[in-house]
């Protein structure tokens, strides 16, 4: 099966949930549609959504909640 990585669009802090008390957007094994939000990147105090760029199933997350990430770094892998 083909895979595709979801890359961080910006450098910053990765969040897997919309707010500290909320559940995660997506877990490993969840299916996603192209354009669906899988996390947030906080850069210079502003928040930007990270979207799945294809339909598929999330097989792995490569960054934890609140991890510092660089632009282009893989955040998750999709089986498509």
């Amino acid at each position: 099966m083909a895979t595709k990585d979801v890359l961080s669009p910006l450098p910053g802090t990765f969040y897997r949930k919309p707010s500290p008390d909320a559940p995660v957007y997506k877990s490993e094994g969840d299916t996603v549609k192209k354009g669906e939000v899988i996390g947030l990147i906080e850069v210079m105090k502003s928040f930007h959504e990270v979207h799945a760029d294809a339909d598929g199933t999330i097989t792995a997350f490569h960054a934890d909640n609140e991890d510092a990430v660089m632009a282009g770094q893989p955040l998750a892998t999709l089986a498509i």
């Binding site: 910053g12 802090t13 210079m44 105090k45 609140e66």
Partner: protein, 457 residues
């Protein structure tokens, strides 16, 4: 009683950390710079005598971590802590922890921070000191009759606000008694549905207001003011362009405004540098207390430029128990100063943040020009903190000359590698309304709807 200190611990980052190091060095103090893992190669770390890692990049785990910062300050052997602005600067628990550890906190007492940090107690202190506040019901109105009495006293337009609301929610504006009588029951029902509490209060609606603020400095007994700044050019409540003095303020209003700030600071026996913020209505010439900031502010350099005093150096002196070194009559306004905040943001793309490598840097100079920044060539601006790269400040004989000088200095400034707001400021400097000081706190957001494409590099 004056306490001798030798070493200052800087519990902040960015351009203000650099600013504090400079003042400390002029006072003969050794400097120890706190930094997160992401700031190990910052300009402040390079300039300081020593540096201490206080945690991971996330501000919550480093610059905002009270226990980690206090422990690092104590372990470093410092005898005073400067909090800068933002982060822990207005955190009373932090000030308390610093003092409990036997170190000097460069700022007001924890009690003063707490009193001014709470909206209700700050407003009460202002009213008690005779500082004008926005006319209104001063609390909930329980009946339509009581509401009628309030609006008869303050006049229209008025805002009807939900007691339990916040952040702009649950606000209605009434411009006449008929409208008011119609809106009150609606507002109450809506507040009950939205917040589970139908309580309302009423405030005068200031249609067009300017943001003015007075710089004060106290030693715990005496207080002096350093006149006012105007910061009406704001985007999303963030100041963008600041000036001193306020161009449209008549001399008699300036005198009353500055005296009211001194009255409030004296009433609480204020120690340190502080700023009292006001709304100013230039149609009625009325000013109203907004809040007091119990710290040095980003825009303090414009005040330094028109008065000639170094506010950061003076706030360190009063924090160790020295008396004020100047009398009110020593402080006079000379000329006009403007500060432009240079942020790593793209003004043509809705101010998208733009951290990254500073590939090249040309800093403006010449008469009356100052650049307070965190930049050096080869530095990588980290994405974890706010977008302020530096502050370009100019002074000249009058406002018109200062705007011309600002445009000249902006044209020299070259920051290669990241997008910045330099182009926004160049466009503002050539705008006829800005040149005529015809603006209020809503001006910039409306202006950007029409002009943001002109703000590129």
């Amino acid at each position: 009683m004056t306490r001798q200190i030798k070493t200052l611990f800087i519990a902040n980052r960015g351009e203000i950390a650099v600013r504090i190091i400079r003042a400390a060095r002029e006072l003969g103090l050794k400097t120890i710079q706190a930094h997160s893992l992401a700031d190990a190669d910052s300009l402040a770390v390079r300039l300081a005598d020593e540096a201490v890692n206080i945690g991971p990049p996330s501000a919550a785990k480093s610059y905002l971590n009270v226990d980690a910062v206090v422990a690092a300050a104590v372990a470093s052997g410092a005898d005073a802590v400067h909090p800068g602005y933002g982060f822990l600067a207005e955190n009373a628990r932090f000030a308390e922890a610093v003092e409990a550890a036997g170190l000097v906190f460069v700022g007001p007492t924890p009690q003063q921070i707490r009193m001014m940090g709470d909206k209700v107690s700050a407003l009460e202190a202002a009213i008690h000191a005779g500082v004008p506040t926005v006319p209104g019901s001063k609390g909930r109105v329980e009946t339509p009759e009581a509401a009628g009495v309030v609006v008869d006293r303050i006049g229209f337009p008025v805002m009807i606000k939900a007691s339990a609301g916040g952040g702009g929610r649950g606000i209605r504006v009434a411009t006449s008694r008929d409208e008011f009588d119609r809106l009150m029951p609606q507002a109450s029902a809506e507040a009950l549905a939205a917040f589970g509490d139908g309580g309302l209060y009423i405030e005068k609606f200031i249609v067009s207001s300017r943001h003015v603020e007075v710089q004060v400095l106290g030693d715990g007994h005496d207080v002096v003011h350093f006149y006012e700044r105007e910061c009406s050019l704001q985007r999303r409540r963030q100041k963008v362009w600041e000036e001193a003095p306020a161009a449209m303020l008549p001399a008699d209003v300036r005198a009353k405004l500055c005296q009211s700030a001194v009255d409030l600071a004296k009433a609480v026996k204020y120690r340190g540098a502080g700023t009292i913020e006001y709304l100013y209505d230039d149609t009625t010439r009325d000013f109203y207390f907004l809040e007091m900031n119990t710290r040095i502010q980003v825009e303090h350099p414009v005040t330094e430029m028109i008065t000639g005093f170094d506010l950061v150096r003076e706030m360190i002196r009063v924090s160790v128990g020295e008396k004020l070194r100047m009398k009110q009559s020593d402080i006079v306004i000379r000329g006009h100063a403007i500060e432009c905040r240079i942020n790593a943001e793209d003004p043509t793309k809705n101010f998208m943040p733009a951290p990254g490598l500073i590939e090249s840097l040309v800093v403006p100079g010449g008469a009356g020009v100052r650049f307070d920044s965190l930049l050096y060539q080869g530095y990588t601006v980290p994405p974890f903190y706010d977008s302020l790269l530096g502050k370009l400040i100019v002074w000249d004989e009058d406002r018109s000359a200062a705007i011309t000088r600002m445009a000249r200095a902006l044209s020299e400034l070259k920051i290669g590698g990241v997008k910045t707001t330099r182009g926004l400021h160049l466009a503002l400097a050539s705008d006829p309304d800005v040149q005529a000081a015809r603006f209020d706190t809503q001006f910039l957001e409306h202006w950007l709807e029409k002009h943001s494409e002109q703000c590129g590099e």
